[in-house]
């Protein structure tokens, strides 16, 4: 027996199969990750339009059958178009990285409304961003760690729980990635530390965790060097806490594309 169900969803991946069909992976609000077969999706007169493109925010109707790997999609309509994500290469790169990450960390048919909301809200904000769109990726990744249950601890020592305030003359803070956050001088003498975080970056991370106003991240002006440190810290952290997290394909492809463009446009 199958039941017909309706849920909001974000399209994570869309693969062409056979003559004109697609298998589409959705991250749904109600059922977590769901793969759905869409027949005739690529025909010119298809009723699905752009609703099956990666990053689309849709209202999905499908026949849900227990024990099936691939469900049958009945309807899929755009809730709100995120047009800028398809017109601006920088935004596209950030959005694609986010959906690829979710596709890796999310489990089939396992509801996580917080994760859905995070993804939906970040894509929406990315669409309307006017400057520094790539900053949003840091927000997303730090918050992703939080909704998956391993929020980094930036307020106190992960070992003795002593509160660690920002001190003006301290330029960098010790991090113990395995233990999940900041480690004080005394404890790091025992357990060591795995990373050093510059004070400016710690400040950004603390703000990201403290506030739901994601637009605030666009105001952080970070140079290339700081950007690299942030990316490598977040990535090390996520890789340690998410088993099986591999390097992202979209990240590699966009790096190549941006390198090629830098060369051609000479900046």
């Amino acid at each position: 027996m199958s039941t017909i169900v309706k849920t909001e969803a974000i399209v994570l991946r869309s693969v062409n199969i056979r003559e004109s069909s697609k298998v589409v992976t959705f991250y749904t609000r109600q059922f977590g990750k769901v793969a759905g077969m869409v027949k005739g999706a690529r025909q010119s007169k298809s009723k699905f339009g752009s609703s099956l493109e990666p990053m689309s925010y849709v209202l999905l109707v499908f026949y849900k059958k227990e024990g099936r790997d691939i469900q049958t999609v009945s309807h899929c309509d755009l809730m709100k178009p995120f047009r800028k994500l398809y017109e601006d290469l920088d935004k596209m790169a950030v959005g694609m990285t986010m959906i690829e990450l979710v596709n890796i960390v999310a489990h089939e048919q396992e509801q996580n409304i917080e994760l859905f909301t995070l993804l939906q809200r970040t894509l929406n904000t990315l669409n309307t961003a006017t400057h520094n769109p790539s900053n949003l990726l840091y927000y997303f990744e730090i918050r992703l760690a939080k909704v998956l249950g391993f929020e980094p601890i930036f307020g106190h020592c992960v070992s003795c729980r002593k509160e660690l305030k920002e001190v003006a003359e301290v330029r960098s803070y010790k991090i113990h990635v395995e233990k999940g956050g900041l480690i004080c001088a005394k404890c790091s003498a025992v357990y060591g530390h795995t990373a050093l975080l510059p004070a400016g970056i710690l400040k950004i991370f603390r703000q990201i965790l403290a506030s739901n106003e994601m637009e605030a991240v666009f105001d952080f002006e970070v140079d290339e060097k700081t950007r690299n440190i942030m990316e490598s810290f977040i990535w090390t952290y996520l890789r340690y806490h998410i088993s099986g997290l591999r390097a992202l394909k979209s990240d590699q492809v966009f790096s190549k594309m941006f390198a090629g463009l830098k060369n051609a446009e000479g900046n």
Partner: protein, 198 residues
């Protein structure tokens, strides 16, 4: 369960891998082959092997061809100052059917698909850049209207524009998510005519 011999089963299996062929059609095709006179079957087998042995990629435009360069690249009737960039050989066929386009082609062999790990080095992008000369006046980007086609269009236009020629894209007559090869000739003609500068 109906008994089906191994050889017949294998043929059905092979046919069902073909695009647009389901299990039932594959069975019908296999039984049809079985009933044909042997000479006919050998003719079909020859045609299959022949196409594989004789067809190669044109070293200029990367379309399928028997002669290299291909008929279009060598033709004196084509306008040599325009190159239309497409994803697959199928798209060349679709555009040729409109009889509205008289320039040259460049087949990329796909589109940029970040989620699948397909980047510029996996497509004939470098080969396109080497074709650019002062004689080339316009590059028409005719890629599928999906996110991969969009990524490819933006990337190529930014790569080509500094080289000085006019870069255009076909109009969005084809709905997003649709495939160029499924578009009818009228829609495709309109999309070509209504191309815009990027």
């Amino acid at each position: 369960m109906l008994y089906i011999s191994d050889s017949l089963n294998q043929l059905i299996e092979e046919f069902s891998q073909l695009p647009g062929i389901g299990r039932k059609s594959a069975q019908r095709l296999a039984l049809y082959i079985l009933k044909l006179p042997k000479e006919e079957v050998i003719k079909i087998a020859h045609a299959l092997v022949n196409v594989k042995e004789k067809m190669k990629y044109c070293s200029v435009c990367w379309n399928f061809t028997e002669t290299d360069p291909c008929d279009i690249c060598r033709s004196a009737k084509r306008e040599m100052n325009t190159i239309c960039v497409v994803e697959e050989p199928n798209d060349v066929l679709a555009i040729e059917k409109t009889h509205e386009y008289h320039g040259l082609y460049h087949v990329l062999g796909g589109s940029l698909s970040p989620l699948e790990g397909i980047g510029p080095d996996d497509l004939k992008v470098k080969e396109l850049l080497t074709r650019i000369s002062p004689e080339i006046e316009e590059i028409i980007l005719a890629l599928n209207p999906d996110i991969e086609g969009e990524a490819t269009t933006i990337y190529l236009s930014r790569l080509l524009k500094p080289l000085g020629m006019k870069v255009t894209r076909i109009a969005r007559g084809i709905p997003i998510g649709g495939d160029l090869e499924f578009a009818d000739e009228a829609t495709l003609t309109k999309a070509l005519e209504g191309r815009v500068i990027v």
